[in-house]
């Protein structure tokens, strides 16, 4: 028996036990309700000070009163108004919480992404640099808009329809494993070449081979130059022989008869030597370009690797690829003192 019961009988109390229990639960329920209200007020930042920014979009699809505005993935404000401007655009009023204003710097752009979830557009503000002053209140933020999901679906539907008409999808389906295998093979080949294996790999990446090639090309070029000089000398000798051969006609009639065609022969020979010389000059130039060609082959290999990577990042080969963003690092700064 407690003090209450000891002094007053249950009949004389204002509330009986049952009523008190009910009252207690109602009071607890009220407290819970109150805490929900407080949490809700805090979450919705009902009493937070706000700063207005504006942006002009071509379509308000997916943007509603109360749509969330984000910076670096964190909520910084909400859309408070939509109005039609005179140049047929829609002016969106953004209410940014005062304590988050620092996150929006001069030169910031707003990205309206309509591909996040059905019916809702995500408004993300990106600042180019953080070492510039914050954007002034009332400023209009330039906008980059993505097409809506409906637009994309419509274009994809058209694409699928046309592909289906040509029975392309089933062909692609059959082809995909082979393409994937081919890419794997290509990667392996490039890796082999890059590691200097195989004839091509050795030719392209082995420094020793390159040096040897340079020596061979150089000596080849010297040889060809010497050959050219020899041909020139031979030509000179023939020119010197020409009058002697003409004089030979007086010695014997047979010889005269035989030497009848000699001028034409010499002319032909001259032409042949000239052509040979030109050909040698061309070959010489080509041979000198070989080290350059190996360098170009290397750069082509790198480009092919990049191309393969970018193709593999494109749907449908991109499945399972994880993109790792950059690690933030502060810019070096001068000392103030």
């Amino acid at each position: 028996m407690n003090k209450y019961h000891s002094t007053r009988s249950p009949d004389h109390s204002l509330f009986n036990h049952h009523e008190r229990t009910v009252g207690f639960f109602v009071f607890i329920a009220f407290l819970i309700f109150l805490s929900f209200v407080v949490i809700s007020v805090n979450n919705q930042r009902l009493f937070a000070k706000r700063i207005l920014f504006y942006m002009n979009v071509t379509s308000s699809e997916g943007i509603n009163h109360g749509s969330i505005v984000k910076v670096l993935g964190a909520e910084v404000g909400r859309v408070s108004n939509l109005a039609l401007t005179q140049n047929q655009k829609i002016q969106i009023t953004l209410e940014v919480y005062e304590d988050k204003q620092d996150l929006i710097r001069q030169g910031a752009t707003a990205i309206v992404n309509r591909l996040t979830s059905l019916g809702n557009a995500q408004i993300e503000i990106k600042s180019v640099a953080m070492n510039v002053p914050p954007l002034a209140e009332g400023a209009t933020i330039p906008v980059e808009e993505t097409p809506s999901l409906n637009d994309l679906l419509l274009s994809i539907a058209n694409l699928v329809q046309s592909a289906d008409n040509n029975n392309l999808l089933s062909k692609i389906e059959k082809l995909l494993p082979k393409v994937e295998q081919s890419f794997t093979n290509l990667h392996d080949i490039i890796a082999q070449i890059a590691s200097g294996k195989g004839v091509l790999g050795t030719a392209v990446f082995d420094q020793q081979v390159e040096q040897d090639l340079r020596i061979v090309v150089k000596s080849g070029a010297n040889l060809l130059t010497d050959a050219g000089q020899m041909i020139q000398q031979a030509e000179q000798r023939l020119q010197q022989l020409e009058p002697i051969l003409y004089d030979g006609g007086t010695l014997t009639s047979e010889l005269k008869q035989a030497s009848k065609d000699l001028p034409e022969l010499i002319a032909n020979l001259k032409q042949t030597f000239t052509l040979t010389q030109q050909a040698l000059v061309l070959i010489n130039a080509e041979l000198q370009d070989i080290p350059g060609i190996t360098a170009e082959a290397r750069s082509s290999m790198k480009k092919a690797e990049q191309l393969l990577d970018s193709v593999q990042q494109t749907w449908p080969l991109s499945v399972g690829k994880i993109e790792v963003p950059e690690y933030p690092l502060m810019q070096p700064q001068p000392l103030y003192d």
């Binding site: 002053p133 790792v324 690690y327 700064q333």
Partner: protein
Amino acid sequence: MINKSSVLCLSLILASCATQPTNSPTHLVRGHQLSQQGIQAFQNEQWVKAERLFQQALRYYQSVDASQGIAHCHINLSQLELRRHNFEPAQYHLKQAKSVVQQSKLTSLKLRLQLLAATLAMQQQKYNQAETLLRNLLPLSPDFPAKKKMNALQLSAISLRTKLAFVIQKESELWLQRYQTALQTSPDNFIHQARILRFQAQILIQKGELTQAEIMLHKILAKYKKNDLRSGIAATLGDLAQLHLQQHNLQQARNFFSRAANVYRSLRNKHKLTLISKQLDQVIQAINAE
């Protein structure tokens, strides 16, 4: 009754389906977010907040063993501590960063580490060591600085080297000229522009043109105030105090030292606050003696 409750349940299920799913960020992404926020806090000169954010980011990176993230966090923390003149923590983070960079072969960060080491040596008044480290960062050619755009690291290195030239009083004008030429490639960099103006004011003081120097320092102070750069404001107030002390304007010197101390107090820079307070005490003693 059953119908009503089932309708309620169904509506609740539908409502829960309609809401957006919460994307819980991975440790790596969370590390990036915290680092980014830390950098913002650093830019706003909120050192305590920046330190907390960098430390949190570091823990996230450590939890997934992201070497590059760990190295970046230590570098950020080292630079932060250098700005606060906390030499021991700065040295600790620099050492940690070096270790990670060596182990993970992050060669691209080596120059950055050298710059941090040079800055630390400079602040600890180890001028020979600072000069040696800066020599590696600024390989001088006859046409130095080159006309091509210098990056932030090179600009900071040349700024530090100019400061060193002023401290050791050797080739200060030459280095200032080099610094100015280097900045011509990035003319919109306010922090470096203001630093050059302060060096120019120092040259005027050396030449005895004190009035001109004072006018220039007041202009720089106005610019720092406009850009809300408290470190710059404090340093310029310190410069003005020194200028007045040189002219034996003790009341003015006390005024500027006191204002500089207030700014350093707001920045929670204990090292600089102690130095300024000592000078302020000496000035007050001199005033009382008069």
